[in-house]
Amino acid sequence: MKLLSLIVVCLTGGLLLYGTADLPDWGDPNAPASLHLSNYYIENAVRDTQVPNLVTAVLADYRSVDTMFETAVVFCAGLACFLLLRDFTPKKDHYYRHVPTGVILHVKNPDRQVIVGNEFEDIDKEWLPPDTIIKTVCRMLIPFIQIYALYVVAHGDFSPGGGFQGGVIFGSSLILLAISYNLKYLLKRVSEKFLGILSAAGVLVYMGIGVVAMVLGGNFLDYEKYAPIFGEHHIRALGMLGVEIGVGMAVTAVMVIIYINIVSEGKHDEGL
């Protein structure tokens, strides 16, 4: 089996290597890929959209319908992870820690839901006090990571960045919180319901911008039609920013949803 697959792989690789003889040289400015469409984008994108970052201009304006369904794909991935893994069966053992004294209560098979006061926190069986060094470093780092993520989203029109990148950075800051403390600490601040609503709202913001442009009398996602509301100046850049914010919201939420469901096998208790 291994030998057979090695032969297949070598054969495919040989064919592909033979095919490279016809491909353009490395860095050739007259390569076929750089002759037709890309020249139009480079020479006219600033005039058409007033956005100097061509990648954002193509992604969020020329090809914005493509990006909209891209966001929908990301949303569907989060939904699939949730539906595959989420486990709502109630657990048998509950552990509560009295915060001022550190005493841990173990409740076995409660007949109905145990309601505890604010001085208790719901913990796991393998609960350990968070490490001081890790806690301090992460507490200092996380705000800066989040500010940087917002910068990346907001400056996607003028410098490298955009909704996908900023969303992933923001999501990773929340995942860092879950790793450095524990999963419950994250879920107390960012609840699962909030994440679900945020991921759906991101897609909705994107589609809403498109539909409102239609209501205002233009084509789907035609940002020019927002000019009576926001003014003529840089209106397409503003429309792209709105779209990128939607993408960033959806990507942030989906990253965290995928993480929390995979890491705890859908139980949302222990985590790493």
Partner: protein, 133 residues
């Protein structure tokens, strides 16, 4: 022999990507563990992303962000296409990276479900368990 070396030197980027791609393909076909197959799939996708990005490269060109005062209605120097690399492969690969992350997440979720049910991720053991029923 010299001819072959000349050919490789001219197209060395494609040779590297194809070798990387074949490593991924071999892992997807021959490895027994489902997680290793997933890693192979990711290597394959990375090779394709590198291939596309290298197509967009031009000598003596910079990143596709227009410099200068073109954006504010000013008519400065004309923009030459040869000064900026091709933005289209970058856009396509940006979306491809996002799709690869999403598919990897879903694939890992499926692996977790398979492990919960059969307590193994080895393909031959899984096939044995399935044929027992």
């Amino acid at each position: 022999m010299t001819e072959l070396f000349m050919l490789i030197a001219a197209k060395y980027n494609y040779w590297l990507y194809i070798i990387l791609m074949m490593i991924g393909l071999y892992a997807m076909i021959a490895k027994n563990n489902l997680m290793k197959k997933l890693v192979g799939m990711n290597i394959f996708q990375t090779a394709i992303i590198l291939f596309y990005v290298s197509i967009g490269f031009k000598h003596n060109a910079t990143i596709p962000i227009i410099m200068g005062d073109h954006g504010h209605g000013g008519h400065g120097a004309a923009i030459h296409a040869a000064d900026y690399i091709n933005p289209v492969p970058h856009v396509l690969m940006l979306t491809a990276i996002v799709v690869s992350v999403a598919t990897f997440g879903v694939a890992m979720a499926l692996c977790v479900r398979v492990y919960q049910r059969y307590h193994t991720l080895e393909e031959d053991e899984l096939r044995m368990r399935l044929s027992e029923k």
